[in-house]
């Protein structure tokens, strides 16, 4: 699996027009300096050879060095992972805190005005482009009300409250879009579960509505939602590029985009590999979670 990903990424990158040396030395017309740098970085060898060399290093645990700053890829990434992780977790928390109540109320008050409000909100969240929401939030809370900083990053673990403040707007931007997706999935799976026989049985047995929902419906409805959340977490960490860009957060998303524009091959390959790994790990976690929620699926 990882082999496919690495091979694919490598090929795509190297086949893209554009060259890291040209990009790095954009302001210099010195051809000899270019050639010597190219040779030093091993970029003048045929693609197949470069791939083999890279894989060889990879198997030894060496992700190589960024072409632009000469530092190990691992260091480049580890410096940037914290903001991305904090943002992802905060966004996910906001998303769940918003989506669950809205979905529950929508499902329980199915086909009423409340439900329509909930689904409209979900539609808005899915259709509204990320950057538009970001700019709107910045304008309202940053420029007009001046309640929150417009851009920039402070680490909550280091600077506590001001760190959280710097992450609120970006987390809300990401979180609302995510909430919309979660809300829709949860609502439809709740509706499905509410229509099941065992629910009618539980109600007939005289259980209160609240108990019915909590102990029977919710657990069963959670399964598709867990899938969605798991997948989204993987994407969030590596992919909140636009949000990172607009809010000037020093995260992994921006790192990889800048690296792509500069054709910094080792850095792009390294990051994509790590994101693929994150995906695989979060999928595994999802599977484990299934087992906890639904006893039928537990691995014997």
């Amino acid at each position: 699996m990882l082999l496919l990903v690495t091979g694919g990424v490598f090929l795509l990158l190297h086949l893209t027009p554009g060259d890291p040396i040209d990009a790095m030395m954009a302001e210099s017309g010195d051809a000899t300096a270019r050639e010597s740098l190219r040779r030093e970085l091993g970029l003048d060898r045929p693609i197949a050879v470069q791939y083999v060399v890279w894989m060889g290093r990879l198997l030894r645990g060496d992700l190589g060095r960024s072409i632009r700053n000469g530092e190990p890829v691992i260091e480049n990434v580890s410096r940037r992972i914290r903001p991305s992780l904090e943002l992802a977790l905060l966004a996910m928390t906001i998303a769940i805190l918003v989506a669950f109540p809205v979905a529950l109320v929508s499902a329980v008050r199915h086909n009423t005005a409340v439900d329509r409000l909930g689904t409209s909100f979900a539609l808005l969240g899915i259709c509204l482009p990320n950057f538009l929401l970001a700019l709107l939030l910045i304008f309202v809370f940053g420029v007009t009300l001046r309640w929150l900083p417009i851009s920039g990053y402070a680490d909550p673990l280091d600077e506590g409250w001001s760190g959280v403040r710097s992450l609120v707007l970006p987390a809300v931007t990401l979180g609302l879009a995510l909430a919309a997706v979660i809300m829709r999935t949860l609502r439809s799976s709740l509706l499905e579960a509410l229509g099941e026989d065992y629910v009618r049985t539980a109600r007939a047995k005289g259980l209160s509505e609240g108990l019915v929902i909590r102990s029977h419906v919710l657990r069963n409805a959670l399964i598709p939602v867990v899938t969605v959340v798991g997948l989204q977490l993987g994407t969030l960490i590596g992919g909140a590029v636009i949000t990172e860009y607009v809010f000037a957060l020093p995260g992994v998303g921006r790192l990889v985009v800048d690296a792509v524009f500069a054709r910094d091959y080792p850095l792009v390959q390294g990051v994509i590999l790590l994101i693929a790994l994150a995906f695989i790990v979060s999928n595994l976690l999802v599977d484990v979670l299934y087992g906890w929620i639904d006893p039928r699926i537990r691995i014997r």
Binding site: A31, I150, S151
Partner: protein, 512 residues
Amino acid sequence: MTLSRRDFVTSSAAAATAAVVGLPRTAAAQAKKGGTLRVGFYIEAATMDPHLSGSKVDRQVYHNIYEPLVTLDVKLGIKPGLAESWTQPDPKTLVFKLRRGVKFHDGTDFNAEAAKFNFDRMKTEPKSIRKGEVANIESVEVVDASTIKLNLKKPDASLLATLTDRAGMMISPKVVQERGVELGRNAKGAGTGPFEFVEWIKDDHLLIKRNEQYWNKQGGPYLERIRYRPIPDDTVKLQSLQSGEIDVIDYVQPRDVAAVKADKNITELDVPSLAAFAYQLNFGRAPFNVKAIRQAVAHAIDLEQIVKGVWLNVGYPANGPIPPMSWAYDKSISPIRRDIAKAKAKMAEGGKPGGFEFTMTTNNIPLSVQEAEVIQAQLREAGITMKIKLVDASTLISDGNAKNFEMISFQWSGRPDPDGNIYQFFRTTPGTSFNWSGISNEKLDALLDRSREVSSQAERKKIFSDVTRILQDELPMVFIIHPIEPKAFSQRVQGYEPIPDGMMRFKDVWLK
């Protein structure tokens, strides 16, 4: 009253010189010490090592923590920097008398040995990007502790101007030897400038602080610290300034200039730049291997319309590679006038009376796309069909270097000496170079070489005028505009003096 093209250009040039006035300059006695200046840039710096730097943003920080041997004044003249004075005993020798008593931030002395070390490093360090700039320096001799002698291979009148930027910047040899590659990320103790490096958290902020031991006791530095932040999104950057989160931004988009000028809380400065934006035409491929066809395109384009409609007059129509604020600018040569009849005549002359088709390669950013579409419409009126190919910056450079284009967008940030905007683009050069068009013109080559040998500014100006005229005829590039780089400041910022190279030097700046 309609303004003829010539009048427009003349008045713009006058306005340009007048505009370079700067923010209110109060007497030094009123200047207050202290405060942190927060600066927003559009991209992150790449490296803190001037010898290895290829990007423009790096230079912004360098001009505050490092110092070159010579520096620029508001009129782009050369004035002393770390070198007190200089003489040229013969055209191939340059002798610098260095300032005494200057120390690097790490406490070591700046002297002739240190200067020699820097030049040697620029020439021999494998990853040095300065090699081309110092290629003409054969050797550097230490005459005494504060005098160095540069022996040149050929006379070069443009060398002094080159030394006002990275090629002339002095790094502490001790730091280089001890830190090596780390210097790119950590420049503590490395410079001699009014500010010194504190820390750099990539993509978050770069911090420099006042150098209490700065050698120049006149004026600043006043600011306690300067904090640079990369804010990639233009709208967010402007909003940060408007909301008071930052104090300075390096560039205001043309579409925002009117609004910023109207905002009473912000001071906006139109700083003319040295840049020249153009399109290179490939001499090695159809259809632009035919001169008449190149001239047809040049005469079908309406420069004024582009500057007015796309750039919103944040720039001057270009008559060639030399910008209006340069001493070498010849205002008697007007930019190429639009003339559809002439364009059609040239097309016939070039064997394509019924029109022809070609592809323009340009950058995938809104302003460039807009400009391309306007040009496309302008050319259509002459019967020329232009296709637009959008690529990202990296591909653009690669296509240009590989001469894989017909007409390609070229934006050069500009150099203080006209040579920096001309020589490497138009001189016959085999192999890969910035001469993307592939032009090889003997008369031009002779003029270009001569412009370096001659030292009288008046004579060089005449040579550059001849060069401009040939360029308007041969058309390796169709020049469009010399952009203005509007900068914006919060009301608290005082004492900023803009130099046309666009570099923001904060030595004498203070906060109200």
